[in-house]
């Protein structure tokens, strides 16, 4: 599969033909996920990267300046585990490591608009939970006409589930998981043996060793292209080359999952995606995750009926994780406009239930970035990081706050003033569509204006030195 290499080449080429590459945001109050604030901040972004942050920082002459006096700057938020843009989230076949979200992401889905409106700048699109081995994921930005233009990191992680998929029980689920890796090993062994023979033949030598030895020697020669296409992803996962996102809904699934991943020597590369009951094994998760965040369910409250008293006991799950010192990532519950369909609302609920503010803010920024391996370039506003900045009308967790503008890699992608659909909703009146070219930019590169969803500049190209496939 050579497409990823081609795709990267396209992006690199496109970056060379970019337009204005400097931007600065001036005068707002910078709120960082650790809770610290900087009044009258200036943030300078060049070529998609933040180059300076401070109160008194020089702004390049050619920079497009966004005045943000009276506003709040906050890092663009992240969805670390989303099924946005996928029509069906899981393949029927339970073991499908060869499946890739790349083939399914719908760039025109309304949900990308909702992301921008909600201040979300990065989305990790990954298969759903109803699977054994779900397939390969992709990290995207929520803007672009084609998947390639949206892509931030292709072929990022493999989705697996310890929790049985529909129709399976625990024993069947684990049997299928084991069998998949055993079949992979069998295939790799066959290929290794064949490669060893070929190599010997090439050197005009005879095969003088028993098959086990041939396999052992041949394995060193095996490359990804030698394998059948359908095994390549699982092979990379088994060698620790790509992370695993492991779905464990119940507490028992977490425990079983940790054991199995340890057995397979895959624990270090695993990120847990858990259900509400997982709070019961928070200490096990803490030990197994060694600092990597745990991705929590969008349902934040676990309910259990005490059989003896009939009382319903409610546990606010993020608080348990916060108290145990385990970094966690929040997801919205469903995806929508009001209440828990919004990511910032979930963070506000955490504060409401007693979670420290900085922990809540991190759970939708820095921790989410850490969970998808981009914790050094996303999730905070600091020099060296990507220019994903939201300009808010107020505090990130206040319910009267709106996203005024969203910059992704330095380019203004969303402007609430131009968001016609949002205006219609609030005023209840339909607005006439803006005539094409109203943005003042070249219509070919400003499709957003005509569609009335507030999109401004064309989607950013990846920064020229964007990291490639790991």
């Amino acid at each position: 599969m050579t497409l990823p290499l081609l795709g990267a080449a396209c992006l690199a080429a496109a970056a060379l033909s970019a337009g204005r590459e400097s931007a600065a945001i001036r005068g707002g109050t910078l709120v960082q996920p650790d809770g610290s604030r900087l009044e009258n901040a200036i943030v300078v972004i060049e070529n998609g990267r933040i180059t300076a942050v401070g109160a008194d920082v020089p702004i390049p002459a050619d920079a497009l300046v966004h005045e943000a006096a009276g506003k709040v700057l906050f890092p663009g938020m992240l969805l670390a585990h989303a099924q946005i843009g996928l029509d069906v989230t899981n393949e029927n076949v339970p073991v499908a490591p060869f499946v890739n979200v790349y083939d399914a992401i719908e760039p025109n889905s309304m949900e990308w608009e909702e992301c921008l409106r909600g201040g979300i700048a990065t989305v990790h699109v990954i298969q759903g939970n109803n699977t054994v081995i779900g397939g390969l994921s992709r990290i995207v930005r929520p803007v672009g006409d084609m998947v390639e233009a949206m892509t931030v990191r292709p072929d990022y992680a493999l989705k697996i589930s310890i929790t049985p998929r529909a129709g399976f029980n625990r024993m069947t689920q684990m049997a299928e998981l084991r069998r998949a890796f055993e079949d992979l090993q069998q295939h790799v062994n066959d290929v290794a043996e064949r490669r060893y023979e070929e190599e010997k033949k090439r050197k005009d030598e005879k095969v003088l060793v028993p098959p086990e030895e041939a396999v052992k020697e041949g394995t060193k020669l095996v490359t990804i292209d030698d394998l059948e296409a359908k095994w390549r992803t699982l092979w990379r996962a088994s060698r620790g080359e790509i992370p695993l996102f492991v779905h464990c809904d119940r507490a028992a699934d977490v425990v079983r999952g940790i054991e199995w991943l340890k057995e397979m020597k895959l624990l270090e590369k695993s990120v847990f995606v858990v259900g509400t009951e997982a709070f019961k094994v928070v200490n096990e998760l803490k030990a197994a995750s060694t600092g990597r965040p745990v991705i929590l369910s969008g349902i934040l409250v676990h309910e259990e009926t005490d059989r003896r008293t009939g009382k319903v006991v409610e546990t606010f799950v993020p608080k348990v994780f916060a108290d145990a010192g385990v970094p966690f990532v929040l997801q919205p519950n469903g995806f929508g406009f009001s209440a828990d369909g919004q990511l910032w609302y979930q963070a506000a609920r955490c504060v409401r239930e007693g979670v420290a503010r900085d922990v809540a803010l991190k759970s939708v920024t820095q921790s989410a970035a850490d969970a998808i391996g981009m914790g050094d370039v996303l999730g905070a506003i600091a020099p060296g990081r990507w220019g994903n900045v939201a300009i808010l009308s107020g505090d990130p967790l206040a319910q009267a706050t709106w996203v005024e503008k969203l910059l992704i890699e330095g380019r203004q992608i969303y402007d609430r003033a131009e968001d016609r659909r949002l205006k219609e909703l609030i005023t209840g009146q339909e607005e006439p569509p803006a005539p094409p070219g109203a943005q003042g930019a070249d219509p070919a590169t400003a499709p957003g204006a005509a569609s009335g969803n507030g999109k401004g500049d064309a989607p950013p190209k990846a920064p020229a030195d964007a990291p490639k496939d790991e």
């Binding site: 309304m110 949900e111 608009e113 909702e114 319903v312 469903g334 995806f335 929508g336 406009f337 009001s338 209440a339 828990d340 369909g341 609302y345 506000a348 609920r349 504060v351 409401r352 239930e353 967790l397 206040a398 319910q399 009267a400 709106w402 659909r421 949002l422 909703l425 609030i426 005023t427 209840g428």
Partner: protein, 418 residues
Amino acid sequence: MIAILLHGALAAGDAAPLAQRLKTESVVLQAAEVHTGDGAVFKPGVVIVLDGKIVAVGPAPPLPAGSRVVDGGSFVLTPGLVDAACQLGTFQRTGFTEQSSEVVPQFDAADAIDFYSKEFERLAREGVTTVFVTGEAASVISCRGAAVKTAGPIAARRLAAKPCVKATIGPESFRRGSFNSSPSRFRAPSVFQRRPTTRMGSAWVFRKAFLDALAFRDGRPTDEDPAAMRALLDVVSGATALRMQAREALDIHSASRLCDEFGLSFTLEYALEAGDCLDLITARRIPVIFGPLRTRDSPVSAREGAAEAYGTPRRLAESGVSFCLTACDAIGDGGLARQAGLAIRHGLDRERALRAVTADAAAMLGLERRLGRLGEGLDADLVLWNGPPFDDASRPVLVLIDGRPVFDAEKRYSKEDS
């Protein structure tokens, strides 16, 4: 202000015991912000409670010696929230009302209230201290509603709100009522007794009910239940108020027309498309109980049916219409505090939003002299919030009903209770 009140108490008869009791038995709640619910804000502020009533509200004065103080620290005090069109707290969620006829104004929702319902506990925890349980949409003309407080001794929870009957215009009465569509086996089936299956049918049932009531009044023979007829005549005379549930714009217009036929004044309930009928509502000065705002879907994706306008509360406020907000049957993330929060997010002024879930709602129920505001002589129903009241990161930490703590998350009240 408090000094003046104490003076007043001293001047009244039986002065010594009252002043003494104020000193020893009253409870003083102080907080960084006190919102009285009718626009006044004290920063910081104090509320003094005695015998379950508010005795004084004002900026923090020197406190009477010996009084018991509940310190709300940096938090915010508001009146308890009032939901004027609640559908929670009944012994079953739906079908709690009498279904043998589509016209049942002679019955009372008070008989359906489950005083031990867990829903009341949750409402109280979320700061809602009074609800008006309204009739069901399954009947075209439903039963009289009932106002109750959400917690406290049962005997103290019943309230005497203005009697009010509800009628439903729109598809609910035939959609929800249709699981009981066979006519009663003891009356001959006829097209006029059959449950309506269309909007036309519902409107006809409404019209016929009032025509029959007028016939009954004039002594003309009618088959209808005399109790129902008398209840309808109370609506005609104005002794009993009338609410019209009409969610969609066309139903709002129908409701207005139908009431015109009989000269009835009414309040709109759950009028989600009120934003599309503002001219009518403003011209006729129709009060509106608005809500609930809720959707899981993105509002920008296509949806059938009533489209909710989040900006409507702001527009209702701007147009001078009297309105209040309701959560209907939602608690938690859709509950009354969140309804106010959503309205604020979409442009409604904060103080106005507070009024819309406190004083204005109490006024709709005719209970403004008892509750809904922090004012002298009113019931001590208060909520202490640990941040701006309807903000998503805030929640109630102390709720008092009739001066009794019904929810005390941080033991602020009982700490004082020795």
